[in-house]
Every structure is written in structure tokens, then in C-alpha cells.
Amino acid sequence: MGRFIARRLVGMLVVLFAVSVLVFLIFNVVPNSPPAQRLAGKNATPVLVKSIEEEWGFDDSLPQQYLSMMEKVFTGELTSYEPRIPVDETIVEGIPATLSLSIGAGVIWLFFGLLLGYVSAIRAGGWLDKLLTGVSIAGISIPVFLLAPVLIYFLTYKIELFPNGGYVPITEDPWGWFTHLILPWFTVAVLSIGFYSRVLRSNMLDAMNEDYVRTARAKGLSERKVMTRHVLRNSLIPIVTLFGLDFGATVAGTAIITEKLYSLQGVGLYAAEAAEKFELPPIMGVTLYGAFFVVFVNALVDIAYAYLDPRVRLGTSAQ
């Protein structure tokens, strides 16, 4: 197991390097205009452009430029220039909101996705299964940008059940935190609930035909134990991979739209606003840190995967 983790972490470093090179190329090399001009913003003075050019070393060779960019990223010197606001500090300020949104949504979609999938599978073919299938497909089919305005319109304007947007730190007001996040959570989760319940249902139906399930029955296990310990347990393994990918994609993707729609002051909103204003440094920072986060989560997931499925731990000794 130790060797597996070490190998996975080395793999992670390689991917991170590749991602950073890609980001560097996309932002500083490929576009056909002076990079300092773009970094400075639309209304920058020539003096500022000149100073950025020196600061980033745009006269140096490309590898040297890459190194100075990475130095800025890792020492937290990345700033937006008009006004001069440090990128890393703004991102750190936005992390509680973004993580509250993503983790909460992840918990909700895992819980309901697995619950619906499990019930669907053990009632396969029955009316409950058919009903849940309909609900899942509806959930998968509704886009976030439609669902959120509809929820906001009915649940906050019409009946004023939930507060209208904004983020309340959990440390200040836990109940306020909770009520402000319920709608965003479900907005993010609905699609995944539908998707996960379908995936789990189909995994479980496959697993039910496995020989080891017949063995479990032949041992005299109760039907509930056969279903949970043998069918469900083995069907969860692919779900873990899926969750790793989706959670990363939520933090680095869906959160941007959702934070914008519900005006949650998170990293996603920061990125969205930076994009509207053509501020490159924040976008560069969010992209890179976001990519690091996604890669890191996936490494964790792979390690969890190896823990769940012993056959994955290749090359480990049998102890």
C-alpha cells in the first residue's frame, strides 16, 4: 500500500507539471499580442505595461519565463494590476464559500444519489423503480442555469422561504450559513443525484448476477446483508472514481456558475468577475490552483480506490 501511494504521488507531480506548462503556454505564449499588455488590463498605462514586462521577464527565454511565472504562483506574488490586489489572498478569502458549496453539495448528491439508486435496484422493474427513474432523468436533464433562476423565483421571491443570495460564514451564523446554502447545494446536486442513482442502479443490477452473490446467498446470509455487504459494497467502487472526478469538476467548474447565480462570494464568483473584466492574473491563478486541487483530489481518490478494491494494489506484497 505504501508503495502504491508513493507511486501515485509521483504521478500526481508529473501531471501538475504538465498542467502548469499548459497554462503557461495558453496565457503567455500562444495569444498573438504582447503578454504584458494583456496582464495589465484594458486601460493600463504604458508605464505599468513596461513594469509588468520587466517583472515577468518577457524578454527572457521561454523556460526562464515559465520559471518566473511559477515562482510568482508559488510565492503568492500573483496580483491583478488595476487595482493592485493580490490574487492568492482573494482566492483564500473565497475558499470557505466555495468549499461550503462544493462539499455540502457533494454530501447531498452522494446521499440522495446512492439512496435512490439502491432503492431503484432492489425494486428493479417495480413502480417505485419506474418513478425514481423518471425523477433521475428529470434531474439529469435540467441545466443549472435554468434550475437556479426557477428555484430563486419561486422559493425566494414568491414565498420567501430562503434568503436571497449571498454567503454567511459558518463561524458567524451557522443557521444563516445553512439557509443561504440550501438552494445552491441542491442546484449543484440535482444533476448528480440523477446521474449517480442511475449508475449505482445499473452497477448493482450487474453485481446481482455475479457468482459471489450466489455464494453469499448459499451461505445463508440474509437478503439485506447480501445486498449491502456484497452487491452494494462492490457497486460503490466505480462510484468513488466518479465522485473524485465530479467533485473536482464541481469546485473548478459548476461552482463558478452557481456562485454567480446566487452571488456567493467564493472563488468561482471571483473568477467569473475577473473574466468579465478581462483580468488575466486572477484567471491564471484560479485555473492553476483549481487544476492543482483537481489533480490532488484525484490522487486521493485513487488511493481510496486501492483501499476499497484490493486488486488495484498491484505490485504490493501480500501482507
Binding site: 459471489y212 450466489r214 445463508g220 446483508k225
Partner: protein
């Protein structure tokens, strides 16, 4: 003769499919006594596995039609509740399956899976004790270094070791009946011999009544006391091992015996076989199901022959073939040994 432990009478199992009702088992009856090894022989699709799995209710499903009677020590199992059947699985009737590669759950340790079988029936046995018992069981079926190997996952065991572990798991609660469904089919020949020797030893030491399902008459010859030959869901012949091997009455049995390769006989030009393929259970021929493949077919065959004793000297030896026993003795001689002659071209 002691009273039968397991008594199957007129068992019929049908499955509703899109093509219609598939009668997988059509009127199987037999008795099994303590310490006896009954072999059920037949090709794929002959209904032997379905018969075995139906005994402990593993074929129950909304699409299955199960009729007839299965009695364990006088207790009717066909009509028993799911809970009653569950209590008896593993506890009184245990089962070993064909493919040891896929019959263990890949994500749990071997020892834990055996312990699970124990704890499913003995709520009072703690985790540590169940584990210790699992290790003792693995040791008793010849797994070396059982204490350490109990912590292995199934993929770390070889095929033969997995089948040993399967048998250890089946024996965990000292059942009265062991059903072994093709226990050696997925193993290579040397390992087969070891597993058979293990089954025989258990049968001898524990007076374990055993149902051995196989298509391999070589295996049957080694361990069985009595033999049931199945074809297309029906029993076509049943008798003691000697009766079936030395005085087989049904042409299908001749074919099975004739297709055995034997090292003590001159090598044939090519391996003998039964021509044709088993019939689809959806379109069984009228009368004897073996008729389309049988070179000895005659005018009576379109009527279903009953399963009955046709030899006065062997009242327990029954078969389903209309041919006169005297004529059978001539007809089954092919090149100086028992076999089914090739059909006329």
C-alpha cells in the same frame, strides 16, 4: 438401509422467458442417504445445476415455476418460507460452486468470508472466534500457513486453493448435505485429483451426504456411489455406479461412456462423440428427447418412455428407453466396448 436424508420427488422447475416456458427440470426424483455420494451427470443445459440449486431455493424468482417436493429429514423445502430456507443454507445444506475464481467476493479477505458464513448462523460467535474457526477450517482442507493465508484476498490464491477454501467455507457449520456443482471443472487435472480426494475424505470422515454435479464420467467413476444421468431436464437413467458403468441401459449413457478417453484401451482414430446437439428446451421433440441424436430410434420412440426398472435382477436400475434389454446388450457394443455407434451417413 437407513432412511433418506434428502428426498426429491417429482421436482419440476420451469422459467418464464420471452420465448415461452422453459421446463429446465421435468420430474426429477431421488433419495440421498447419509454418507452417500450421488452423481448427477449430463451436458450443459440438462438441468443438473438447476436441480441442485432448487434444493436450497436459489432458483426462486418471480419467473420460476417450481413444483414437486424436496424433503430434508421430512421437512418440505419447496413450500418453505424464504427465511426458513435461508436458515438452512450453509447450516444444513452447503454448496460448492463451479468457478472458484468468481465465487468469492474479490474485495473481502478469504478468512473474513468464511467467518461471515459462521456468523450468519451463529449470532453468539464473536468476531475473533469466527476468525479462529475460519483459520482452523482452512488448515483442515490443506491450506498451508492458514493463519497468514486467511488474511489474503481471493486474487492472491491459486485456483485450487480457492476451491479448497470454498470447500472449507461450505464445511464451516458442519452441514449434513454438501452439493458440489462441477467442483473440479475449472481446475487442471492434478488439482482436480486433489480436490476429489479431499471431497472423498470428507465424505468418509463426516458421513457427509454429497450431491456431485458433473459432466465428467471420469470424476464420477472415482467418487460416486449412485449415478443419475440427465438429458434435457429429465432423468434418462439411474442406478449404482457399477450398474451405470458396466450395464448401461440408455443409449445416451452409452454415448457418454463411449466418449471417455481411456488409457487402458487401444487409441481410437478420432475421439468418439455423440453427434448433434442437445435440443432446445423450448422445442423438445415428441416422446424421447434423445431421439433425434439416437442411431437406434424405432417406432415406439415418439412416445415418452417412462423411467422404470426394466431388469429383473436390478430393481433399482431405472431408465427411459423402449429398447429390449437383450437387444441393448448387442447394440451398445461398438468396436468391442460400450459406445454409441455413429449414425448412418
Amino acid at each position: 438401509m437407513s432412511a433418506p436424508l434428502l428426498s426429491v420427488d417429482g421436482l419440476r422447475v420451469g422459467f418464464n422467458t420471452e420465448g415461452g416456458l422453459v421446463q429446465a427440470v421435468d420430474g426429477v426424483s431421488f433419495d440421498l442417504r447419509p454418507g452417500e455420494v450421488l452423481a448427477i451427470v449430463g451436458e450443459s443445459g440438462s438441468g443438473k445445476s438447476v436441480t441442485a440449486q432448487t434444493i436450497i431455493g436459489l432458483t426462486r424468482s418471480p419467473n420460476a415455476r417450481i413444483e414437486g417436493s424436496v424433503k430434508l429429514d421430512g421437512e418440505e423445502l419447496v413450500e418453505a418460507s424464504d427465511t426458513a430456507l435461508r436458515r438452512l443454507r450453509g447450516e444444513r445444506v452447503a454448496m460448492v460452486f463451479q468457478d472458484p475464481m468468481t465465487s468469492f467476493n474479490p474485495v473481502y479477505r478469504i478468512g473474513a468470508q468464511i467467518a461471515e458464513a459462521i456468523q450468519a448462523h451463529r449470532g453468539d460467535v464473536g468476531k475473533a472466534e469466527a476468525r479462529a474457526r475460519a483459520i482452523a477450517l482452512l488448515d483442515s482442507v490443506g491450506i498451508p500457513d492458514a493463519e497468514r493465508r486467511a488474511r489474503d484476498y481471493p486474487h492472491e490464491f491459486s485456483g485450487g486453493m480457492r476451491q479448497r477454501a470454498m470447500i472449507a467455507m461450505a464445511l464451516a457449520l458442519e452441514p449434513e448435505v454438501l452439493i458440489a456443482d462441477e467442483p473440479t471443472t475449472a481446475l487442471d487435472v492434478t488439482i482436480q485429483a486433489q480436490i476429489l480426494a479431499l471431497l472423498e475424505q470428507l465424505n468418509r470422515e463426516r458421513q457427509l451426504a454429497t450431491i456431485l454435479i458433473t459432466h465428467d464420467l471420469g470424476v464420477v467413476a472415482e467418487v460416486a456411489d449412485r449415478v443419475l444421468v440427465m438429458y434435457a431436464g429429465r432423468v434418462v437413467e439411474q442406478g449404482t455406479l457399477d450398474e451405470i458403468f458396466y450395464d448401461p441401459q440408455h443409449p445416451y449413457t452409452w454415448g457418454l461412456l463411449g466418449s471417455l478417453t481411456r488409457l487402458d484401451r487401444p487409441r481410437p482414430q478420432r475421439l468418439p462423440q455423440i453427434s448433434g446437439a442437445p435440443p432446445s428446451l423450448l422445442e423438445l421433440p415428441e416422446g424421447c428427447a434423445f431421439r433425434p441424436r439416437c442411431p437406434h430410434e424405432f417406432s415406439k420412440c415418439p412416445q415418452q418412455p417412462p423411467l422404470e426398472a426394466r431388469l429383473t435382477e436390478a430393481p433399482g436400475h431405472c431408465d427411459r428407453c423402449w429398447l429390449d434389454p437383450e437387444r441393448k446388450r448387442e447394440k451398445r457394443q461398438v468396436a468391442g466396448q460400450i459406445g454409441l455407434e455413429a449414425p448412418a451417413p
